[in-house]
């Protein structure tokens, strides 16, 4: 009978499943144990207001139009819409003064849309409002 012939060679899953029971589960308990994140992770942008010469190249090159030039004390500064941003860091590449740097902050979930807008003043060198 076809079924019996197939059963002949025992599948390795039988041993594997039992051996897994005694191994430590591969789960990382995220909320308690913060994950170790690689250096170059493309998390939230850190914008350094002192280096910015408000040239607007970042806003022009952003594929998702997530950077808006906003008037802050007379000078135009980039304002990041995190809900539209795709974290590609083309802005960091196009910025002549590389005032935009990447950071490892990736926990950006929020219950209302308003605090996904990062104003230039807020997240300057001091490491952001987070």
């Amino acid at each position: 009978m076809k079924v019996k012939r197939e059963m002949a060679k025992l599948s390795p899953i039988l041993r594997e499943v039992i051996s897994q029971v005694f191994k430590k589960p591969a789960t990382r308990r995220y909320p308690e144990v913060k994950p170790k994140v690689p250096a170059g992770l493309r998390g939230r942008q850190i914008f350094d207001i002192t280096l910015c010469i408000s040239c607007g190249l970042c806003a022009r090159d952003c594929p998702a139009k997530a950077i808006e030039m906003v008037d802050v004390e007379g000078k135009m500064r980039p304002l990041f819409h995190l809900d539209r941003c795709i974290f590609c860091y083309q802005c960091a590449e196009s910025c002549p003064r590389n005032a935009i740097k990447s950071s490892e902050i990736f926990e950006l979930a929020s219950t209302n849309k308003s605090d996904l807008v990062v104003k230039p003043k807020e997240n300057s060198v001091s490491g952001g409002s987070q």
Partner: protein, 143 residues
């Protein structure tokens, strides 16, 4: 009563037009490394069983009705989490002819998780924030 609702949030996943980067991160949540079953989260096959609707992807014209109908099929205390830049606001595809925009243009959204795609830990962080907001008694009355 609220304890039970916080401890067993059943989840339904619907992709209304995504590039399926966020979808594979949502499915990765169930796998051994992130294992959201620790929180009692189960991926439910039918909208009737689910409490939280995980939507990914920008809402295309054809998916809008399906998304609305699935949202209506879910029983009350229901919540919606928009995962990824596309679901939050249309992301890169904002303004295309077949795209309506973010999920909040069709159904009310409770938690936005930016990122393209957000890391699985970021999605868990979003769910934990949603559960905290329910615990804080802030009912999702933003209809």
């Amino acid at each position: 009563m609220k304890w039970a609702r916080l401890k067993s949030p059943w989840v339904l996943h619907f992709n209304s037009g995504a590039c399926n980067a966020c979808d594979i991160e949502v499915v990765a949540l169930l796998t051994p490394r992130y294992d959201v079953e620790r929180f009692g989260i189960l991926l439910e096959p039918s909208p009737r069983h689910a409490d939280i609707l995980l939507t990914t992807g920008v809402v295309t014209r054809q998916c809008a009705d399906r998304l609305k109908r699935i949202y209506e099929q879910m029983p009350e205390p229901k919540f919606v989490i928009a995962i990824g830049a596309c679901a939050c606001s249309g992301g890169v595809f904002e303004g295309n002819y077949n795209v309506i925009g973010g999920v909040d243009k069709v159904i009310p959204v409770d938690v936005y998780i930016p990122g393209c795609p957000p890391k699985p830990e970021a999605i868990i962080d979003g769910v934990v924030k949603l559960l905290k907001s329910i615990e804080g008694g802030e009912q999702s009355g933003k209809r």
